[in-house]
Symmetry: C2
């Protein structure tokens, strides 16, 4: 039986695996985490609206019923195309007849890798839990802090990049901090928390129609988000962000500005585009290696004169095509080219506001938000049996509650200031130091 | 207005705060975490059945409506009884007219503090997440491991102490690992995972009637738990446990054997009992300081010739009495003595098996389990608006699913073996090292 190795269990890789379930090939799916993540709702984990388990499921559970599939948790160190082998960091080597690379993307720092030490990316559950813990700790510390400058620094949150993730984070964080959290804290006034959204381009949601960008900008400002357009970040350190020459004191910077494809692709020895992606044929295979496919954020494919965007929807549509092309090749049949069908894109701006762009229709406001809710409910329900989770979530969301405002040890590690007390700065670091011994 | 400081937001401290809500006293509740935890279900977070948010709620949300209460997150360094001051680790000092100490208990290591480096306690959400991550990673590593001895070590789980926590952990872990996990993993046979329950005494659940202990032992053995009675632990290190002279290779040891009251009590300069508790008057105040109360696991109070047990039920009943006694004293009225009313105790042994001991009734098997379920549902519902969470939980529990089998970075830190791959041993440690710079 021919062996297929899939690297990555995101929308793309999981789709390929599902297309190959119970087919006459032996499939191994590798992922460095044990779960598939519904990334479009990751910002809600970061902002304490959802728990990790609400938007993630163990990959091996999802694929349990397909006996020709095995799932291994492990990180790929390199691909040896000559030997047709994938090598893991632990030394294991896996032979393949077909290889699917779906490693996704990570935060791209525009040539400033040192910023990664001070700004949070938002790509994994751990990223989200770190952001959550940091924001909640900032509020807890502010509750005990009397120095006005220090309070201002603690309660200033900077989000860099006004694409869908940045806009959703900023709008939801403004709502959370000015209503829910301000209501729970005695000494934090609703006017104190500041949410800054910084964008180098001239409008938010640049991939959307300008009318929708304008609607989103208006909504963000109504929620109290301070939006800085045409503004470049020059420096990020542990206590501030510098943008357009102005230094803004803050402890909490979230990076939603750029992504770069996985560094794994560099081991292929092929040219990469500026975002680190690799150009593929219309059937999603490599130009010089028909047995290797690339899907999702790692693949660069032009369609109608422009590269396809790095959206979950693209990866979702690519998975079944790659699965079908592998089976077709194994059976000696011709492959199909991939063609992306844009079914629409959306972004929420807090509760009851959104923008949605469909091929023949544009929506804003409450109607767009209801459309967003409906689509995400359908996507999540189709993906797992999570009806009750969703009921809970809708109820919390509509009732303006937030069920997961828990500070756990994890996020504290990162840059705890001396001003935090024992639990935050001392105990947890001691504990981790002990763990590392 | 007189000032009340409450240290600890568990069952005891939260109960005092609720009794003082909207009364003519100014109350500050201190806790080193930001959440109240429903500890009786913590083992279900550790075994991936529930999410942290299902059993925890932000203390400040719970107490939001009482305007005479404030909540501060911080760790108490010492109590200065002469100055009537509580000092936090960050240097803040709080004056009090009445002080309530409800700091709870932590794992007690019977004179072997070094074991804390290699065994997991189960007192906090972070403990539970560490245990969860470790167990899931052990399975993931076993899936890739071919050496039989190494597999045996990875799939041997040792639980020390056969009180209710140890019994619930052992029974549920045996079910989880022999059914759910074995079904998801391709190369782990249902017979491979071993769960050892080690108890120094001669029976499990020593606080229960001997007939119930016998029923629990039978249930545990039917679930495949290997129970070792009359067995003393002599050593715990990173790769094994030694008991009764025999070395058992294992990576994963959970300590449910002993608790010790919070070390904070040592700063009072009063004699403590062997479990670190402090003797209190029948009104729960200190013998030499009527303005200081101690509740919950930190208090030693004899009733009918025996010290009250360290149960959540005791703390739950003490909170309102202390609140009432503070108000009575402030109004010049006499205090009431506390008397614990035993409403029954229970322990589950996996799905659909339990033992329950009520004053006039003993239950085992399915009936006891349904009673356990009903009581915990009532307690949780009364404590928060969590009906939907509970529906979800019942459904998962009954349908033999488990919704939270997620490996997040946190737990990995502790003793990652070199055999784990990049994500586990390399990437996460690198990430944390970067965070600590």
């Amino acid at each position: 039986m021919q062996r297929v190795v899939i690297v990555g269990g995101g929308f793309g890789g999981l789709g390929v695996a599902k297309a190959l379930a119970n087919q006459p090939v032996a499939v191994t799916l590798l992922d460095r985490s044990n779960h598939h993540l519904f990334q479009p709702l990751l910002y809600q984990v970061a902002l304490a609206g959802l728990s990790p388990a609400d938007i993630a499921a163990p990959i091996r559970s999802v694929l349990r019923k397909a006996r020709n599939l095995q799932v291994l948790m492990g990180e790929v160190a390199a691909v040896d195309r000559a030997a047709r082998q994938v090598r893991l960091r632990d030394g294991t080597a896996l032979d393949y007849d077909y290889l699917v690379l779906a490693p996704g993307a990570q935060s791209g720092w525009f040539g400033h890798p040192e910023w990664a030490e001070h700004a949070f990316g938002l790509k994994t559950l751990d990223d989200a839990l770190q952001i959550r813990t940091r924001i909640l700790l900032d509020f807890e510390t502010a509750e005990r802090e009397h120095d006005p400058e220090r309070r201002r620094q603690l309660l200033t949150f900077v989000i860099i990049g006004a694409g869908p993730t940045g806009v959703e984070l900023a709008g939801t964080l403004a709502e959370l901090s000015k209503t829910l959290l301000a209501r729970d804290f005695r000494r934090v006034a609703p006017t104190e928390p500041r949410v800054l959204l910084v964008e180098a381009g001239e409008r938010v949601l640049a991939a959307f129609d300008p009318a929708l960008s304008a609607a989103a900008l208006r909504d963000l400002r109504e929620l109290g988000v301070e939006v800085f357009l045409g503004t470049r970040v020059q420096a990020i350190d542990a206590s501030s962000v510098t943008m357009n020459g102005r230094r803004v004191p803050t402890r909490t910077v979230v990076w939603a500005a750029g992504v770069a494809a996985s560094p794994l692709l560099q081991s292929l020895g092929l040219p990469l585009d500026p975002q680190g992606r690799i150009a593929v044929n219309p059937d999603l295979s490599l130009p010089d290696a028909p047995e290797v496919f690339v899907v999702g954020d790692a693949a660069r494919l032009e369609q109608d004169g422009a590269a396809l965007p790095g959206l979950g929807a693209v990866a979702l549509q690519q998975g079944p095509v790659v699965g079908a092309n592998i089976l077709a090749t194994a059976l000696g049949r011709p492959r199909k080219p991939f063609r992306y069908k844009d079914k629409g894109t959306m972004a929420t701006i807090g509760r009851s506001r959104a923008v949605a762009q469909f091929p023949r229709l544009q929506l804003t406001g409450l109607v767009a938000w209801l459309a967003w809710l409906g689509v995400h409910l359908l996507l999540l329900v189709g993906w797992g049996n999570r009806v009750l989770v969703l009921l809970q979530w809708c109820w919390q969301y509509l009732a303006f509650r937030s069920g997961a405002r828990l500070i756990t040890g994890y996020g504290v590690v990162r840059g705890s200031p001396a001003a935090l007390d024992g639990r935050a700065a001392g105990a947890v670091e001691d504990e981790l130091a002990a763990d590392r011994r």
